[in-house]
């Protein structure tokens, strides 16, 4: 994983991040997850299209002001076309069936872990096979968008953070294997001419025209850049396709449920799978451990708070943040994930199902020792076994 597939963080402080065992899921259960994920993806894209014109709801989603201005420009200048649309829905098996905690729809990670790790582990499990290969589907979709051979795609990642760069390099290698020239870059290396993107190359002496941009760079970070960078073209008015497009900002916000009722569209899968979610000012979260608090644009579980899992001091800090800026948080009813017995002991699995252009494409599975999936979670291969095989645990 480390040398061939860019898993450059196999050790995070004292934790080895790759599990030396496999979890198994029955084929019918995996098929059910795929159907649910595809329904969620359809509803998500419908919600995003509706929200593009509902600028009155953008502040409700806690979208930063510069991004709200950029999204208004999408209306006047059109959204920069999408190269590929990829999302990852995080499923949990609970005491009341499947639930989701969130969708990662702007910059989902876990491609190598979801594609290569199961493939490597499958050789030890006769009769079981990987769920799918999201990297392959993603790279095929990008390659299919190239107008001709020998095109260049830039993968934009934040400098200095290896956890992002390793994903970008891995995906770049997947593209290179399909004959698409791929190069890593920081946002400032892009140059826009007539709304088309070029990559500044070799000390600035060369300009490479780009056929596509993979933005492995959170949309909410873009406003910190100078407007002169031209970052707005990654979202609005650009003629070089980008993945993921601007609309992903809406569904990346954990406050998305607060806008549902105003959209007037069918969101039945979302309503069934996501726990009830409210603005913190509407519910008694301070004194009720039945609530989990999340910041609107949290990722990796680092801004997720459950009172009983925190020290008094940490909880007091969260209370202060939420009281100071309640509009940047969401309060969600807790669900009870059923634990799995493993060689690591009892763990709580999170099954992140990828969709590529609306089609379920594989799963990134993480195991955490507690209810919150954070940077200490361990990646594990999930294989699919025939329904006739005996069930191995609480995931039937």
């Amino acid at each position: 994983m480390s040398l061939d597939f860019c898993k450059w963080d196999p050790q995070v402080q004292d934790t080895s991040t790759l599990a030396p065992f496999t979890v198994l899921m029955q084929a019918s259960r995996w098929a059910e997850l795929c159907r649910l994920a595809e329904a969620l993806a359809r509803e998500t894209e419908a919600a995003e299209r509706a929200l593009l014109v509902r600028t009155d709801l953008h502040r409700v989603l806690a979208i930063p002001a510069p991004l709200r201005r950029a999204l208004r420009e999408v209306l006047s200048r059109n959204e920069t076309p999408a190269l590929v649309r990829v999302m990852r829905f995080d499923f949990h098996w609970t005491d009341t069936g499947w639930a989701i905690s969130e969708v990662n729809s702007d910059v989902p990670g876990g491609f190598a872990e979801a594609t290569e790790l199961p493939r490597l582990m499958a050789q030890f499990h006769a009769g079981a096979k990987p769920a799918d290969h999201p990297s392959g589907h993603w790279a095929d979709a990008v390659a299919a968008m190239m107008p001709s051979a020998d095109q260049t795609v830039a993968l934009i990642a934040a400098p200095r953070y290896v956890e992002d760069q390793q994903v970008a390099v891995y995906l770049a290698r997947c593209l290179a294997a399909r004959g698409v020239r791929a190069a890593l870059a920081a946002p400032e290396q892009l140059l826009w001419k007539d709304r088309r993107a070029f990559l500044r190359w070799s000390g600035g002496g060369s300009l490479l025209p780009l056929a596509g941009i993979v933005r492995f760079y959170q949309a909410e970070w873009l406003p910190a850049r100078s407007r002169g960078d031209g970052w707005i073209h990654l979202l609005a008015g650009g003629r070089t396709p980008v993945t993921n497009p601007a609309a992903a900002i809406f569904s990346e916000s954990k406050r998305l449920p607060l806008a549902w009722n105003a959209l007037g569209i069918d969101l039945s899968a979302w309503r069934r799978l996501l726990p009830p979610s409210y603005d913190p000012r509407q519910v008694p979260w301070r004194n009720d451990d039945g609530w989990v608090l999340k910041s609107a644009f949290c990722n990796t579980g680092d801004a997720v708070a459950i009172r009983s899992l925190m020290s008094t001091r940490e909880w007091a800090k969260v209370c202060w943040y939420v009281r100071l800026r309640p509009g940047r948080w969401i309060a969600q009813r807790r669900f009870q994930t059923l634990p799995l017995d493993t060689p690591m002991g009892k763990v709580y699995p999170c099954i992140g199902v990828f969709t590529v252009n609306g089609r379920a494409s594989g799963a990134y599975v993480r195991l955490s020792s507690g209810p919150i999936v954070d940077f200490r979670a361990v990646d594990v291969a999930m294989l699919i076994e025939p329904d006739a095989a005996q069930s191995r645990g609480p995931i039937p």
Binding site: D14, E102, G109, P159, Q189, S202, G204, C298
Partner: protein, 258 residues
């Protein structure tokens, strides 16, 4: 040798500290062009090696090292320390190229040139394998002091790939782990006599809180290692850091994909 063999030479599975070795540069090795260290850097490293041998304790248990020298000097120092019985653990995290399929020998379009580091790791792998380093030998973590870039020599500018990196506390074992492994003091080896870089200081402050003694040894100061002042300053800067965090909220200090 293959990529896996190079990596195994620097991070054998049986060695206690190998889990923390960073595989990034090794994943580029089979596609790299061997550059080799030039004569100047070899002479400089030989001088550094002489200074190191004179002042650092033997690898007999309670002392661990963090070598924070420039590029290939760090690798050469690591090899010399291996000859003393330490386990060198490369923690280099700068991408060597913006291209996923390797390096071009005729371009240096990156802020931090890692080609010589890759070559040094390759060139010394076979020799490293011949050394008898015990499985629980104390660690010598290897960092590249150029990782933050040099704004004067190589300023950030359009067209040049920004491959700077930072050293994070999560790149190292915790202070608790270090102590249970029998390491009670850590010497930071630097080129010049100054306190550690701010990114590494975060790790050292955490280790200090776990009651690990922190010392500084510099190549341009022939005196024995001196206690770091990080303990004195650390509390102040951590208070400032925590105050700033409390104002900004958790989102503003988060990184990483979902």
């Amino acid at each position: 040798m293959t990529q896996a063999e190079f990596f195994d030479a620097w991070a054998p599975e049986t060695a206690r500290w190998s889990r923390w070795a960073k595989p990034l540069l090794f994943s580029y090795m089979s596609r790299s062009v061997a550059g080799g260290a030039n004569d100047v850097s070899i002479r400089e490293s030989q001088e550094s090696n002489r200074l190191l041998r004179g002042q650092l304790p033997p690898a007999d248990g309670p002392t661990g090292l963090i070598v924070d020298l420039a590029g290939v000097l760090s690798v050469r120092a690591g090899l010399m320390l291996a000859e003393m019985g330490y386990r060198p653990v490369p923690l280099f995290n700068s991408l060597p190229s913006p291209q996923p399929d390797g390096l071009k020998s005729d371009t240096a379009d990156v802020l931090v040139d890692m080609r010589e580091v890759i070559s040094a790791l390759q060139d010394n792998a076979a020799h490293l394998r011949t050394l008898s380093i015990t499985a629980d030998a104390p660690p010598a973590f290897l960092l590249d002091s150029r990782r933050g870039g040099d704004q004067e020599a190589a300023p950030v500018r359009p067209g040049v790939f920004d491959n700077r990196s930072v050293s994070m506390p999560t790149d190292f074992p915790s202070g608790h782990y270090i102590r249970t492994a029998g390491v009670s003091r850590v010497v930071v080896v630097r080129e010049h006599d100054s306190e550690p870089a701010s990114d590494l200081a975060q790790t050292l402050m955490l280790w200090h809180e776990a009651r690990i003694e922190i010392y500084i040894y510099s190549l341009d100061n022939p005196n024995p290692p001196r206690p770091s002042t990080i303990a004195v300053k650390g509390g102040f800067w951590r208070t400032i850091y925590r105050f700033l965090c409390s104002l900004a909220g958790p989102d503003d200090f988060l990184r990483g994909s979902g």
